[in-house]
């Protein structure tokens, strides 16, 4: 089970092991699905609870949700611009909240209490498949945003200041999802690994500050992902001239 050849007394590490589910020819990482569903369920429950009895005087969960809404609205508006941000706010908000709750859930919930036949539960965003899926959604979104708003004139963007930019802009279309997905995946996985290794070596006290740092970077990563997604969409819908 452990990838270390020798046995430490306290804990063990598992890397690269997954709970595989077979679906036709696909081998799904089951633990990612499980935690994703839990995260989605938690978010839905929060939203349902917060919006069931809406009042003019915002209290409790409603106040929290409105605060989040304000935050996401500001984020989307600054990146996408006054004209188009309304269309994309739900998408940006979903990205932000899903990634944020995934990261924090992975860092705060004692997933290891639940023992799986193989692999272990953790943040869904620590799996490259999740982050690649999210990043590809962002790519699709900004293409759709540009094409639906400007039609074929969207491709003016590729030669915008000068036609020399064409190859770079084409390469950018590939590097954007790549960097988005790898940044998120790398940060969250590294975070989990650092904590796991520290726990493996020094079981008490020392991991705590690193875990707090992990919470901080997790939040920042969620913000970065959402901001960049909004920025790409904003770039696609922006009118030149």
């Amino acid at each position: 089970m452990g990838f270390m050849p020798f046995v430490f007394p306290f804990a063990e590490l598992e890397v690269g092991q997954h709970l595989y589910w077979q679906l036709g020819n696909l081998r799904l990482h089951g633990q990612v699905f499980l935690t994703s569903w839990i995260v989605i369920g938690a978010l839905l429950a929060l939203v349902v609870v917060g919006t069931r009895k809406m009042e003019r005087d915002p209290r409790g969960v409603q106040n929290l949700l409105e605060f989040l809404w304000d935050y996401i609205r500001d984020l989307a508006r600054t990146q996408i611009g006054e004209k188009a941000y309304r269309d994309w706010m739900p998408f940006i908000g979903t990205l932000f909240l899903f990634i944020f709750v995934s990261n924090w859930g992975g860092a705060l919930v004692p997933w290891r209490l639940i023992h799986l036949p193989s692999g272990e539960l953790g943040a869904p965003t620590a799996d490259i498949n999740t982050t690649v899926a999210l990043a590809l959604l962002v790519s699709l979104s900004y293409f759709y945003a540009g094409l639906s708003r400007k039609g074929l004139r969207y491709f003016e963007y590729y030669v915008h200041p000068t036609p020399i930019m064409l190859p770079f802009k084409i390469v950018e279309d590939f590097t954007k999802p790549l960097s988005l997905s790898f940044r998120l995946f790398g940060n969250i996985l590294a975070d989990e690994l650092v904590v796991a290794v520290l726990v493996f070596l020094v079981p008490l006290v020392l991991p705590v500050p690193v875990m707090f740092l992990g919470l901080f970077t997790s939040a920042i990563q969620a913000l970065i992902f959402a901001t960049l997604a909004a920025y790409y969409i904003g770039e696609a819908v922006e009118e030149h001239h």
Binding site: M1, D57, A107, P110, L204, V208, M211, L215
Partner: protein, 171 residues
């Protein structure tokens, strides 16, 4: 392996090993968040809520002020409309009076001018006929003066004088 599986080791189950599951550190972190977050986030949310309530109150106040102002303005509008109506009817009456007055004056003036022109014409005609009469008299006298020295002698003169006396006596 010192891992402690309560349930089947190969299936789903609970792992209650304190160190392996990192529960102790997690408890510390969660406790820290529990201490820290309510102050931070709760303070932020409270401020937000208060700001919203203040905004709502202000908006309500402004609404009531605006509705009273609206009522006042409506009253003013009504009064102004009444006054405007009054002024309009006054104006109509005055305009009618002025029109009648000026019509009357015009008619009178026209009559006066017509009369004046007629009298002027009469005066001129009498002046001209007077002048003509004078002229005719002058010409007759001139002619008479020219003719008379040749025709007049004592006998004719005496006859003329007696005839004149006779005419005067008849007149």
């Amino acid at each position: 392996m010192n891992s402690l599986f309560l349930f089947a080791a190969d299936g789903f189950g609970l792992n209650l090993d304190l160190f392996e599951t990192n529960v102790l550190n997690l408890a510390v972190v969660i406790f820290g968040l529990y201490k820290f977050l309510p102050n931070f986030l709760g303070g932020m949310l409270q401020r937000r809520r208060e700001a919203i309530l203040v905004d709502l109150n202000e908006a309500e106040e402004r609404l009531s002020q605006a509705s009273t102002a609206l009522a006042e303005a409506k009253k003013g509008l009504e009064q102004a409309a009444k006054k405007a109506d009054q002024i309009r009817s006054d104006c109509k009456a005055r305009a009618e009076a002025i029109r009648l007055e000026s019509e009357k004056r015009t008619v009178e003036e026209m009559a006066r001018i017509k009369q004046g022109a007629a009298s002027d014409l009469n005066a001129e005609a009498s002046r001209v006929s007077n002048q003509l009469r004078l002229e005719a008299a002058r010409l007759a006298i001139e002619k008479a003066l020219a003719v008379m020295p040749a025709k007049l002698d004592k006998k004719a003169q005496a006859k003329l004088v007696s005839q004149s006396i006779k005419t005067m006596g008849e007149a």
